[in-house]
């Protein structure tokens, strides 16, 4: 081993506090240090993930208090997989925003990268922690940095979007704390594995109430209908890379938390049906809302919400294939949606209102950006041979194995809606005459690199889906192996 899971939290948190100090000495360091740290964390995540695949989960005991008393971090195939995705997305977001338009000034860059490091710390912490109260703290860290990043642009309506997000987020945190305290008052423990092993002792009434409170609280962060009112505004008003960070990092962490509660901690029989119902509602309403959006980024935001609905339906199937498909969709969404956000924000760069009609004829002006946008659009609606095809196929197969034919029909119908609104944009880009006098904006060098890396990944996963399926299978197996999770945490000792 080259490191331990605690570094994923300690290093970015330390960096977030040190950046302002190093900036006093050397101004460029506020941009460079976060990138170096994220690159190191990515290497560490990949190393630990391959270690975990061979040797089983790593359980780290913090501060010398063995579980169930102290806080512990769990790095297994499932959480490790998500940490790897999140750190990788963090690195790409950093690279894209290295000299982003509003970051050129030192003062702005310092705040931006500080908040980005806090966002990564919080999200990675949510995934790694094995303690329910500690998870609440990390959710709040993520939330507060998320509010501040949403309001990063001083003009426009960003403060309004951020205020909306803040109200919903703080009501969510109240519900979350209430749910945690219900569990604590009944079982007298906060450790996830300990709670899971004692869950059968809890009165079903308390169990149901605290589960519903958890679903409401985490659903707000995970953009589940009807709790996602903040999401389209936050995506549309936040800087482009922040939208990508939300869809690639924050939402993944919230989905992880919800799935951990449903699969490992609670043993309620109706929970999977609840996931399917909530997921289907989210999917249908988000896709229908997306088709009538006029602003490009809002359309992408609704599409992002729809994808999350699909993830929830897939988790709700409750089989290993279902979890495999859900993780595959999450992986693809983490790759494709940032590509769409990045290329899309360049296509409407000079436009005031950022409407979809402003992309007319951009195919001639900005061929590379347009091509990448089209690639992302084809991939996310699930056309072969791109990455999105395999995740949708595995989802449909998992649903077919469980005889959920109505759901398959509904998902395919909704996919047509998705196809319509994405093809409408692609059609406008390539085949419409340029109506406005808007000029295309050349992407920066960093943006070229980031978008190319994402496009190559889409093609690689599209042609060789086996390259990721081993990791996905391991992750799905580790989520299902509840007794191993409990055992490995409760027998953990101080190294």
């Amino acid at each position: 081993m080259v490191g331990t899971p605690v570094l994923f939290i300690a290093i970015p948190l330390l960096a977030a506090f040190l950046i302002p100090l190093t900036g006093m000495v050397w101004k460029e360091s506020v941009r460079i240090i976060p990138g170096l740290i994220l690159a190191y964390l990515l290497v560490l995540a990949i190393n630990l993930l391959s270690y975990v695949t061979v040797n089983g989960p790593i359980v780290e005991v913090i501060a010398g208090w063995a579980p169930p008393i102290g806080i512990n971090l769990v790095f297994n195939a499932f959480s490790g997989f998500l940490v790897t995705i999140m750190v990788f997305m963090g690195l790409l977001v950093w690279l894209y925003s290295y000299r982003f338009k509003s970051n050129v000034e030192y003062e702005a860059a310092r705040k931006y990268f500080l908040l980005l490091m806090m966002l990564v710390t919080g999200s990675v912490g949510i995934v790694l922690t094995g303690d329910i109260f500690n998870m609440f703290v990390f959710i709040e860290i993520t939330g507060i940095s998320g509010y501040a990043l949403t309001a990063f642009y001083t003009g426009r309506d960003s403060a309004e979007a951020s205020f909306k997000y803040l109200i919903m987020g703080s009501i969510a945190s109240v519900f979350l704390l209430l749910a945690i305290m219900i569990i604590y008052s009944q079982l007298g423990t906060l450790n996830m594995a300990d709670v899971a092993s004692k869950m059968h002792l809890m009165d079903p009434k308390y169990k149901a109430v605290s589960f519903i409170l958890f679903v409401i609280a985490l659903g707000i962060e995970a953009e589940v209908f009807p709790l996602n009112g903040w999401a389209p505004d936050a995506y549309a008003e936040a800087p482009g890379p922040v939208g990508a960070a939300f869809s690639g990092i924050v939402v993944k962490a919230a989905v992880y938390a919800l799935i951990r509660y449903t699969y490992t901690i609670f043993d309620l029989s109706g929970a999977f049906d609840l996931l399917i119902i909530v997921g289907l509602m989210t999917l249908v309403i988000a896709e229908v809302a997306a088709i009538r959006q006029e602003k490009l980024k809002r359309m992408l935001a609704y599409s992002s919400i729809g994808q999350m609905g699909l993830v929830f339906v897939s988790f709700g199937i409750g089989t290993k294939e279902g979890v495999f498909a859900a993780l595959f969709i999450m992986l693809n969404h983490a790759i494709i949606k940032p590509l769409l956000f990045f290329s899309g924000s360049y296509l409407v760069y000079h436009s005031k209102k950022k409407t979809i009609s402003d992309v007319d004829g951009m195919g001639k002006l900005a061929p590379f950006t347009s091509l990448l946008f089209a690639l992302g659009a084809f991939s996310i609606v699930g056309l072969p041979p791109f990455a999105g095809f395999w995740s949708k196929l595995s989802f449909l197969m998992a649903a077919a194995d469980s005889n959920m034919l109505l759901i398959i029909g509904l998902i395919l119908t909704v996919s047509v809606v998705e196809l319509v609104y994405y093809m409408r944009v692609v059609n406008r880009i390539f085949f419409f005459k340029r109506a406005s006098h808007l000029l295309a904006r050349r992407p920066t060098f960093n943006a070229y690199i980031v978008m190319s890396v994402l496009a190559v990944l889409i093609l690689v996963i599209g042609f060789y889906p086996d390259s990721v399926s081993t990791y996905l299978h391991n992750a799905a197996n580790s989520l299902f192996d509840k007794s191993q999770y409990i055992h490995s945490v409760l027998t953990a000792t101080i190294q």
């Binding site: 009501i171 209430l178 389209p232």
Partner: protein, 123 residues
Amino acid sequence: MDSTYFQYLDYAVYGTAVLVMLIGLYAALVKKSLLKIVIGLSIVDSGLNLLIVTLGYIKGGTAPIFSPGYNGTQAMVDPIPQALVLTAIVIGFGVTAVALSLVIRLWRHHHTLYIDEIKNLKW
């Protein structure tokens, strides 16, 4: 000691905490002024903190500290909820600070705190 009297008192403390939370939620969801919404959110936090401390209380318990006068037989209250409440208070403070700074931004932008007049974004 009359135990029934203390049980009613227990419920009264729980009831007060929930009542404070409901008052806060009412302010956060119904009031039209941004400042009142922020105050409401802060009241919800206080009610929740009160509830958590109440959950950890043991009848006749002392502070959970091994001080020189402690004879080893007296019950102590549960220290974990108190530690959790300290964390929750700090987090609530941070959220309130961010919320107030956003209210200042909105005031500068719109010159009003009335929420019906700040509606550029909608579904």
